[in-house]
């Protein structure tokens, strides 16, 4: 083991796209799908739920408590529980990760809408915005920074957590960790860690960019 280099580039070259299901590029693709679907589903569910929590305040306490409990459950625990329901499919990873995303996104949506200053809301009313249009055209855009902050946390942790799914056979790049461990071979492990961190940094950067594009007024204010 001592003279084994940390990274063997020839192994990477040979296994990047060898056509099989264990090719690095195939695992990467799998990983991306399994990491982003939960965030997407989470956002789709969190927006209406968050709105409901703002509209009916009493809903928020129990929802927040439930999300808090969910968030404290280990991913491996949820994976293994869902394993008995959904079997060895991607859903076994995607469904639990959706819950984790929700646990971050619902508070983000609620806090985001709460961060809309009252004068802004009242101005919108005074300008003749009806509630639905006011929500879409004024309140949600103003809430974007807080919601996107939550989205960034959810995305990065989702990308990292998919790898735990490797323990139940559905882990995208996490499978490289198992492979490396079983063969006492560093390269796949290093490749897996590097690609996951790279993926997370890339996704995070894209979300920061999205925030800049979605909130042009925050830049205008700074330069003024």
């Amino acid at each position: 083991m001592t003279d084994e280099p940390l990274v063997r580039w020839d192994w990477i070259a040979r296994n990047w796209a060898n056509g099989g299901p264990t090719a690095i590029s195939a695992l990467l693709e799998n990983h991306i799908v399994m990491a982003f679907l939960p965030v997407l589903f989470g956002l789709v569910v969190a927006l209406p739920l968050g709105l409901a929590c703002v509209r009916w305040r009493w809903l928020y306490q129990p929802t927040a408590a439930l999300m808090n409990v969910t968030y404290s459950l280990p991913s491996l625990v949820l994976f293994s529980i869902f394993l008995s329901v959904t079997g060895l499919t991607r859903s076994t990873v995607v469904i639990p990760l959706t819950f984790f995303a929700l646990a971050v996104l619902i508070p983000a949506v609620v806090d985001g809408l709460a961060s809309v200053p009252d004068p802004v809301r009242q101005s919108a009313v005074a300008m003749g915005f009806r509630p639905a249009r006011r929500l879409l055209r004024v309140e949600l855009p103003v809430a974007v920074p807080v919601v996107l902050a939550g989205l960034r946390v959810a995305t990065v942790s989702s990308i990292s957590l998919v790898s735990v799914g490797a323990l139940i056979g559905q882990g995208g790049l996490g499978n490289l960790f198992i492979d490396g461990w079983q063969r006492q071979f560093y390269t796949p492990i290093v490749v897996g860690i590097a690609l996951i961190v790279l993926l997370a940094v890339l996704a995070d950067g894209l979300l920061v960019l999205a925030q800049r594009l979605l909130t042009p007024w925050s830049r205008a204010r700074r330069t003024a």
Binding site: S72, L76, S163, G180
Partner: protein
């Protein structure tokens, strides 16, 4: 539910080195060790950065990057590098996991203290260190405790994965159960870890009640 009865009703699961009490103790042992190391590093550092404002950007970026590090990969790599069977290296990924939430929340807590309050403390003649320890820390305590709670829960739940590299703890039931397709053990272990994580969560909420000064709670 039959699985749960099978797992918890089996007398063999309640004694010996493979029993629930022994595994629970192991789990708590290395979770606590990792958590304490992380807290000893992150709390003072976060307080210092929040107080002086130096190096804040670097810390926030590093903490965000650390969130992306996959614990399973780090664990496997560290154990392979250090040699299978050693305990201390296993703590490294858990410490790495626990530092970001503690550091970021401590920093945000200390930095977010009302500037008037800080000025008042200086006006009353307190020195820099006294301001930090006697004024900023008590006011920032709810956020510091939040960071500690998030870290503790994550460590306890992630320590499950340590069983994969041959360590004990409650993860043994899950990993071994998966390997031998004994799903009663998998579900039983899962329930135990979940209960432990919730207990830790609850313990920190209690600590928050006891430790946070009533005055601070009022202005929240």
């Amino acid at each position: 539910m039959n699985w749960l009865a099978g797992f918890f009703g089996d007398a063999a699961h309640w004694s010996g080195p493979d029993g629930i009490p022994a595994r629970l103790l192991e789990h708590l042992e290395f979770s606590a060790a990792a958590f304490l190391i992380a807290a000893l590093i992150a709390v003072p550092l976060g307080m210092l950065i929040g107080h002086t404002g130096r190096g804040a950007l670097l810390v926030v970026i590093a903490a965000n990057a650390a969130r992306a590090l996959p614990t399973l990969g780090l664990l496997v790599l560290v154990v392979l590098l250090a040699g299978v069977g050693t305990v201390l290296p296993v703590l490294i990924p858990l410490v790495v996991l626990a530092i970001p939430p503690i550091l970021v929340n401590t920093y945000e807590g200390v930095r977010g203290v009302d500037a008037d309050l800080r000025d008042a403390a200086y006006g009353m003649g307190l020195r820099g260190r006294q301001v930090l320890l006697q004024t900023l820390t008590p006011v920032a305590l709810p956020l510091i405790l939040l960071g500690l709670r998030l870290a503790a829960v994550q460590v306890v739940s992630t320590a499950t994965v340590a069983a994969f590299v041959g360590l004990g703890g409650l993860g043994r039931f899950i990993i071994d159960g998966l390997a031998t397709k004994t799903y009663a053990d998998v579900i039983g272990g899962a329930v135990l870890v979940a209960a432990l994580a919730l207990a830790v969560q609850f313990a920190f909420l209690l600590l928050d009640r006891v430790a946070v000064s009533p005055g601070v709670r009022q202005i929240r």
